[in-house]
Amino acid sequence: MDILYAIIPPRVLSQILVGLSRTTILFIVSSGLSLILGVLRIPNIAHGSLYMIGAFMAYSLSIFFGGGDLGFWMALIGAPLGVAIVSLVAERGLFQYLYEREHLMLLLLTFAFSLVFGDLVKIVWGTEYKSVPVPQMFQGFVNLFGGLPFPLYNLFLLIVGPIVAVALWFIVNKTKIGKIARAAAVDREMVGAVGINVSWVFAIVFVIGCLLAGLGGVLVAPTVSVTLGMDHTLIMEAFLIVIMGGLGNIWGALLGALIFGLAQSLGILIWSQFGIIFPYAAVIIVLLFRPTGLLRATW
């Protein structure tokens, strides 16, 4: 360990872990955005709203189940499902009629949706800050790297990230619906011409993507104050990550989230007052050299 510390100081190591736990949230949300962008070709600005709704639902569910560990686990399962139902209604009720429209139109429509969702959240949950407690079992710190304390909950996030990535890899590459979605991303007309009801495939993909937004919202809830407007920052970051990684490429979203999250956490070490500019600078640098993103875009 001492050799490791000589190369990378413990302070930096610990900050890398902080960055990676941020990456987890960013990856989960942006992979959903990228999935929808790649298969359905919808630049869904309302994706951030679904993340926010996920966080608010997590608050309500956690209160409903007594605020303890049970509340957290129920929120972790229930809130993404709640978001999935909201998105299914939106898709069947509206989006399914608009897939052939041009992107600018879809951009405006989903932007309008984000405003509507924002107001709905205000009506249902009010304007005060909400906080979701960190579950008992993840409270406290562990001492890592020469005794620097690291929050247990962040460690939990570091475990969830890879699980979601593997699950997503499995769905996309090994299941029939994933294979159909990959085919439809490139040629939806031909997928219809081999007997597949593309409309329902799109609905399922849309719901999976939105479910990921909801999951991101639940996971972030104990680490931030749940508030109106939390969707705006995130949707901007998520879009930058997706663009940086390659539009529609889920692994690009993973790579983009890694760069964004690490630039954020390490930037604070380098220049703490202006730490926030580092991830954006990283985006600019990446796009200067790879204007279409790091990995192959499906667009």
Partner: protein, 229 residues
């Protein structure tokens, strides 16, 4: 089995097909011959519901299928092989076959691979990396996975080397022997004549000739004017 009656098809505002009528009976291989841009592909797309006609009607096995969604037509037993191949480039050969909707089990992967042994050797390859001939086999194999009663083959030999064309002709004749009706569109008249029993000649979106192969062969005017042979 297939009865197309007086269809008019448009791309946006431009009128492409004018009063096209044709029939395909059970077990028959019918040619739709014509030059590039004559309206062959549009006729195929109209039948498959990809570019539905604005006027006229199409019936299949006695059901009126005009304006029905392509995926429903596939499930009724119409297989479509587009002229520009359009394999699912991102998927493996095997997955290209696997995702197809199985309406019956007449055809399955084993039987398809038996017909196209070359494909079974490259099951795991990414479809986008295949040669033109392999992609063409794959699109036919893919359509067969739905156990079609009618196959719409849009210029299957286009752009392929003569040796591969000969293989493909043999395989198409095997499909005929298996009892599948085929509507085959071709520019390559010489190749088509080996497979078909009747032909329609299309030009500028209208049917100019309909008859048996021997009638077509005897008709020098049609051959010279529309087929350039």
């Amino acid at each position: 089995m297939l009865d197309v009656k007086g269809i008019h098809t448009y791309y946006g505002l431009s009128h492409i097909l004018f009063d096209v009528s044709l029939t395909v009976s059970k077990g028959e291989v019918v040619g739709l011959l014509g030059r590039n841009g004559a309206g062959k592909s549009t006729t195929m797309r109209s039948i498959m519901g990809l570019t539905p006609p604005k006027e006229g009607s199409i019936s299949f096995n006695g059901d009126n299928i005009t304006g029905q969604k392509p995926y429903l037509l596939f499930r009724k037993g119409i297989g479509y092989v587009p002229d520009d191949r359009r394999v699912f480039a991102d998927l493996s050969v095997d997955d290209n076959l696997e995702i197809v909707h199985n309406r019956k089990t007449d055809w399955n992967k084993e039987r398809v691979y038996e017909l196209f042994p070359a494909l079974s050797e490259i099951k795991t390859r990414r479809a986008g990396n295949l040669s033109g001939g392999e992609q063409q086999m794959l699109t036919i194999a893919r359509a067969l996975m739905g156990s079609p009663e009618l196959l719409l083959l849009d210029e299957p030999t286009e752009g392929l080397a003569p040796l591969i064309v000969r293989d493909l002709e043999e395989q198409i004749l095997k499909l005929k022997d298996a009892g599948i009706s085929i509507l085959l569109s071709e520019q390559n008249v010489r190749s088509a004549l080996k497979m078909i029993s009747r032909a329609y000649v299309i030009d500028n979106g209208s049917i100019r000739f309909a008859g048996t192969v021997s009638e077509l062969e005897a008709n020098d005017e049609v051959k010279k004017k529309y087929l350039m042979v």
